[in-house]
């Protein structure tokens, strides 16, 4: 077995506490993923990535730094990966999906705060995340009040830059977002020591758009009446997309998509006849949060699509480069891609989200929609009412759930989900 302790020590990690974190992952992974039947063979790669999540990939990042490259951490899909990549940076979505980190986060943040924020900050406070220890810069954003203030705390213990994002989808909002992009370019040029070029940015856009396209292709297979891959496995693949090498991920995800497409042709499915199909919408589901997907998929239902930041919002739209012939025009195009089509509840109004939920529910033949929101997330929880009313008008059943990362409410969640699934039966 490769011994990564020296590497972790070199990153300034708390090895004893990190060992406790590492002890929790293997049994959780086996219980969540390896109890499933007929998983696609293509999931082997993603199993390996998770098994080596604090090993091989960290070594790759450190090798990149040794060659002069920079690692940029982020927590939000509004941070443009294309620009980081164009400046020879690697962007990684930082860990924020485990209850393990929440107590450390609560040392510096209030308890009544989003668990994702607490876990993210806690991962750094506890020095138990090698990704966090590896980054040269964290790019935050003021999408919500919780994050806006949390960056002030993070800034004391990690190099942090905050993008100023708009709250409205207006001309003024776009102008602010466009300026924030320009400011981010300047900051990243300073950090990386590289200049943004037309060819470099074009290539980066093409790479990131290919990643989006392969995720779209994988998701499309879940529209089939006989679903070839579980929602849990698709969630794992999506989560890996946020920190894996882009080219390798594209290749492996394409192989998985091809296998799923073959399964559709042969009628092979991972769910028994009569399994109800659910769309999950709401707050992001980041690694290693697999809790609600597991409960849903062991309660007689399948998650066939996710309308959230770790789902369709991450990949559905592309950059329209057709009218761009300069760096500035490419940055305009990138800004439009992020501003126009990502319908996050941090914007007001946010009618586009309800439209997306209804559209996806129809496309993926969902029998019902689960609104899954993290505790203390004001924006998404308040927006739930709009989503509920819209779904009611469309005749689509809806279940609203609020939870965090702890396991204490799994029984209650299961009871409510089972009752909801039962209500969907003819």
């Amino acid at each position: 077995m490769a011994d990564y302790h020296k590497m972790w020590e070199g990153l300034g990690m708390d090895l004893a506490t990190h060992d406790q974190l590492c002890a929790a992952l293997p049994p959780a992974f086996e219980q969540v993923f390896l109890t499933q039947k007929d998983r696609p063979q293509g999931m082997d790669y993603f199993n390996m990535v998770i098994a080596e999540v604090h090993g091989l990939r960290i070594q790759e990042l450190l090798d990149h730094k040794a060659r002069g490259g920079k690692i940029i951490g982020s927590f939000c899909i509004y941070v443009p990966e294309e620009i980081v990549l164009a400046l020879d940076g690697i962007m990684v979505g930082l860990c924020a999906g485990s209850e393990f980190w929440v107590p450390a986060g609560e040392q510096v943040l209030p308890r009544n705060l989003c668990p994702l924020i607490k876990a993210g900050i806690g991962a750094k406070v506890s020095r138990t995340c090698p990704y966090f220890q590896s980054v040269d810069l964290v790019v935050g954003e003021n999408t919500c009040d919780g994050k806006k203030k949390a960056w002030e705390v993070l800034g004391d213990i990690a190099p942090t830059y905050v993008m100023d994002l708009p709250n409205t989808k207006t001309a003024a909002g776009f102008a602010l977002f466009r300026k924030s992009m320009a400011d981010l370019v300047a900051k990243l040029e300073e950090v990386t020591g590289n200049r943004l070029t037309f060819d470099g940015l074009l290539s980066a856009i093409e790479t990131v758009d290919r990643k989006r396209a392969v995720l779209q292709r994988l998701y499309e297979t879940r529209k089939a009446p006989k679903v070839p891959i579980s929602g849990l496995d698709m969630l794992l693949a999506s989560q890996v997309a946020f920190y894996d090498d882009a080219s390798r991920f594209i290749s492996q995800a394409a192989a998985l998509a091809e296998e799923c497409e073959e399964r559709i042709k042969s009628g092979k499915t991972v769910f028994p006849e009569g399994t109800k199909r659910l769309l999950v919408t709401g707050t992001p589901i980041v690694v290693p949060n697999w809790k609600v997907h597991k409960i849903i998929e062991t309660s007689g239902a399948a998650v066939v699509v996710e309308e959230n930041c770790t789902g369709t919002r991450y990949f559905e739209s592309r950059v329209d480069m057709s009218k761009a012939s300069t760096v500035e025009e490419l940055v305009d195009a990138i800004t439009h891609r992020y501003f126009d089509r990502i319908h996050c509840a941090c914007f007001t109004p946010n009618e586009g989200r309800a439209d997306d939920v209804v559209r996806l529910a129809r496309e993926y033949r969902a029998d019902g929609v689960v609104g899954l929101n993290l505790s203390f997330c004001t924006t998404y929880q308040v927006e739930n009412e709009k989503v509920r009313k819209r779904l009611q008008s469309e005749g689509i059943p809806f279940l609203a759930l609020e939870t965090d990362y702890a396991s204490g409410d799994e029984g209650q969640l299961r009871t409510r989900i089972e009752a909801f699934v039962e209500s969907l039966r003819d």
Partner: protein
């Protein structure tokens, strides 16, 4: 079922053996190594302990050093 785990020096070794076992029809899963079996992170192959002999034999044929551990219930 009683599970056994094969531990490896490198992830590449583990993936090579996994592919070979799949060709032979030996059912196994790639998984994170249980922490009580090793001090560091990395991949293991988990399989029915009944197949331990076959796994050891194939690893030997491929020249892949492994450590086999049977997980007693």
């Amino acid at each position: 079922m009683v599970f056994a785990y094969a531990l490896f020096k490198t992830a590449t070794d583990g993936m090579i053996l996994h592919r070979r076992l799949r060709e032979l029809g030996v059912k196994d899963d790639i998984c994170p190594t249980p922490r009580h079996l090793a001090d560091s992170c990395g991949i293991s192959l988990r399989f029915d302990a009944i197949a331990a002999g076959a796994v050891r034999e194939e690893a030997g044929r491929l020249g892949i050093p492994i450590e086999l551990v049977v997980q007693r219930p």
